[in-house]
Symmetry: C2
Subunit: 350 residues, 2 copies
DNA sequence: GTGAAAGCGCTAACAA
DNA sequence: TTGTTAGCGCTTTCAC
């Protein structure tokens, strides 16, 4: 019923349990011959160290936590997937924490018990050695609680004060997307973003909007407010926002920069619903590198989310090793413009 | 650095550590007054029980494992998400295991070390009290290893011999989809499925294909082989399969049943690429209930994946309680036809 | 390079 | 109802 204990291995190998522990942990102070005998004994008995016992004795659990605000959205799970691979290959298990975003309409913080429990209970159970935060906005209190854990913490995609962060430069990402449209001759460029429903301080949409504003300003093009609307990072939200962007006012934009691919699918659909041809009547560019963008011909900026997760995980593993240097405070990750058929030069004959 | 220990709580509350343990575990044999004092002491000290210590002493880790073949595909993460919610609300942590599918071209099982390590090492670390398998095909050996753990195991979506399973009836799902098309007057109905790349024994596509065959047979319509092609459960695969389905032979099907929504996006795109209007020239129906299907107007069969995960998790929690009855060997979950604008009555004037 | 022994922080008999 | 005590299965000094 229970697994084989270290004692059996010690007996079979004719050594003490201390030696078995050392040998299996790869400690240097074990002779090659002994190590071989121990490994063979362990192998033949199917012995695997008990996570709880080892964790209690050593204080290290060999598991790391990944915290994300959404458990089933492509970007987040892709980051997670990349991190998971790196961590499990290094012998760590992964515990998944769902950190529910604080909603804008709950600005007084009276709700979100689940999030409170996460920081006040779950993390204190000391089940993990380190934590990877994916696109999370923390309050100062939450950051203090994390710090109090005394464990390595790394953030992906959303810089946190005092926490090493790996992210693309979202402002530059957005600027690059808009610049692509500008280079194609577009001037009347709309923005579909996604600030609305979540997180008090969800920075990514803000930065993408800022990049849009910056690129337009550099091109000397004024941005009118009815040219920017919020989807909520869903296809349906993108559809609604695009319907407004494309029907408000007396003229129509010739291009739209959409802050995520999944919203862009909704934008493409809205264009079709209005009888607009893409890219002849309207150019559309997204962000993320979502795989369905391929068949839909969506031009996008791929930010390689799985690689982001892998990079964050490697930084964590580095910190977990006693004598490794700490990761830099903030590291910028690469991204890549992928031109497909949803963007084209401005048609001058309109 | 380390958390507060049970001893401090005991001192502050003026009781023994055993009583603290009992009180905090909600054991009945504690007086209301004592319990209150203990809880207050724990609260004021910010005490949370150590997962490792509690796990070692009790043999229960209060964590459950979720095993899935893909960590970043919508269906799987949705199931996971539903299960995660139920489990964390019940006070359990979730450890995520990636069980890499065995590829068809690796039929001799010489590779896939990661999968081997999962069953021969990770699971033996006894980090979890129970296991939820999402759409997994196990070998007999793997099943034996799971059984040897002596822990509750529940499967979602893919029946496993000897393991309680929750799933939609995939044959009926497929049959319903095809029947919807038949009811609209279609006779020449193609199939885009997805057997190719993974898992020796990946049953879902097989069942969906069987449902298609059955519905067609019942309608007395022969199925010709060039009317069925495999995508690989990706949009790109769906696109390629549809291109073949729509261009091979001298006539074109008037409808396509696609075994997943994400493939169906590729099918819609292929239709557009060929200048076919949906639904006027071609009806398309998918399966899953993927959210982007909403804006794309994709008719589908929603199988409520998050609910599937929640249901599986509840069954596991039931088994974790000593005196609960075991879940039934196989339970069929509901699904729902959602008619949108990608399907329409057969146009007789062609 | 290896062993003896003392915990790690809890839980679960067993007593009282 | 509560306290005492013996582990749970490892890791890690400290000796040798």
């Amino acid at each position: 019923m229970n697994g084989v204990s270290i004692l059996k291995v010690a007996e079979l190998a004719g050594v003490s349990t201390a030696t078995v522990s050392r040998a299996l942990a790869g400690k240097p102070s074990v002779s090659a011959a002994t190590r071989a005998r121990v490994e063979e004994a362990a192998q033949s008995l199917g012995y695997v160290v008990s996570a709880t016992a080892s964790g209690l004795a050593s204080g290290r659990t060999r598991s790391v936590g990944i915290m994300m605000p959404f458990l089933n959205r492509w970007f987040f799970t892709s980051v997670m997937s990349g991190a998971h691979r790196v961590l499990t290959d290094a012998g760590y298990d992964v515990t998944l924490y769902h950190c529910e975003p604080n909603r804008l309409d709950d600005i007084h913080g009276t709700e979100n018990d689940r999030r409170a429990r996460l920081f006040q209970e779950s993390l204190l159970r000391r089940r993990v050695d380190a934590l990877l935060l994916v696109t999370l906005s923390l309050t100062a209190t939450e950051r203090d609680r994390l710090r109090a854990l005394g464990k390595p913490v790394v953030a992906i995609d959303r810089p946190q004060p005092g926490i090493p962060t790996f992210a693309v430069d979202n402002l530059t990402v957005a600027r690059s997307a808009v610049t692509h449209l500008l280079d194609l001759g577009h001037r009347d460029i709309a923005y579909v973003g996604g600030v609305i429903p979540y997180d008090l301080d969800f920075q990514v949409p803000v930065l993408r909007r800022a990049g849009y504003d910056a690129a337009m300003a550099e091109a000397g093009i004024p941005v009118r407010s009815h040219r920017a609307h919020d989807g909520d990072f869903t296809s349906a939200g993108g559809f609604d926002a695009a319907m407004r962007v494309l029907t408000e006012g007396t003229t129509r934009p010739t291009a739209i920069f959409v802050a995520s691919d999944e919203m862009a699918y909704g934008v493409l659909s809205a264009a079709a619903a209005l009888g607009l041809r893409v890219p002849e009547d309207l150019s559309v560019i997204g962000v993320d590198g979502h795989p369905t963008g391929d068949v839909l011909g969506l031009t996008t900026i791929d930010q390689h989310p799985a690689e982001q997760g892998a990079t964050g995980a490697r930084a964590l593993l580095g910190e977990l090793e006693p004598d490794a240097e700490h990761p830099p405070a903030q590291t910028q990750l690469p991204f890549e413009l992928i031109v497909r058929r949803s963007t084209a030069p401005l048609q001058t004959s309109r």
